[in-house]
Subunit: 126 residues, 2 copies
Amino acid sequence: MSKNVPNISESEWEIMKVLWDNSPRTANEVVSSLQGKADWKPKTIRTLLDRLTKKKVVGVNKEQRIYTFYPLYAEEECQRAETRSFIDRIYGGTMKSMLVQFMEEETLSEEDMEELRQILDKKTSE
Amino acid sequence: MSKNVPNISESEWEIMKVLWDNSPRTANEVVSSLQGKADWKPKTIRTLLDRLTKKKVVGVNKEQRIYTFYPLYAEEECQRAETRSFIDRIYGGTMKSMLVQFMEEETLSEEDMEELRQILDKKTSE
DNA sequence: AGGCTTGGATTACAAGTGTAATAATGACTA
DNA sequence: TAGTCATTATTACACTTGTAATCCAAGCCT
């Protein structure tokens, strides 16, 4: 069982995505990875890394003089946690109401729908 | 086209749910409706109502001495807005990745799955 | 050895949130 | 009419978040 994932703010998520993509990384590497994606000063990115560290969402290697950072939770784990609390808040806890609303409205490609159908089929036959 | 829905915080959502459920309502009615659901002092609820009003998410009837409050946006509209920004943040903007992850893991009842399947079928045949 | 540079540590500061309390005002009651 | 009670208005205060800047220390260059 996974301990509860701490809250990760919107900006912090951008940092996490970079670390999930590839880690450990130095602060500078994170800065580079965000070139063009987010428009933050390096100091800002540094602050976000520090906050994530303090929150224990990110770990730090202090062996070298220049630290490297790495995620302490898997991306899926965090996505699930966020999604769960999101659904509770917005859709009263029932996934289905959200799925229904969004599947009806959203643009899903043929392939997407096919994939979803297969997942449903698989689940049904379990 | 709907103007952009202002941000609604977590606590504020609880208030909105009450108003969507039934409105217009007085502050006191909102307080009653939240009995057992949220554990807030009446003053707190009042503050939240005021903030929602200031944000123009809620309207106020000041005709009577005791005001009544009502939503200025439909629930679906707000849900969609939240969901859109949520998916962008957490799933890189693609609905499908979330659906896949959640349909695979979540507990959906047979009926839920049947309903989803029907929605898919309908969309496919459109 | 004394600066310059670079990365880490500390500090800043306003807006938004959670969570109310206190003050002011209008209505009702004795 | 003065006090009380219910409402509305104003104020409070700490924590989080967005967005950095400043200060400090360790190497590096000359």
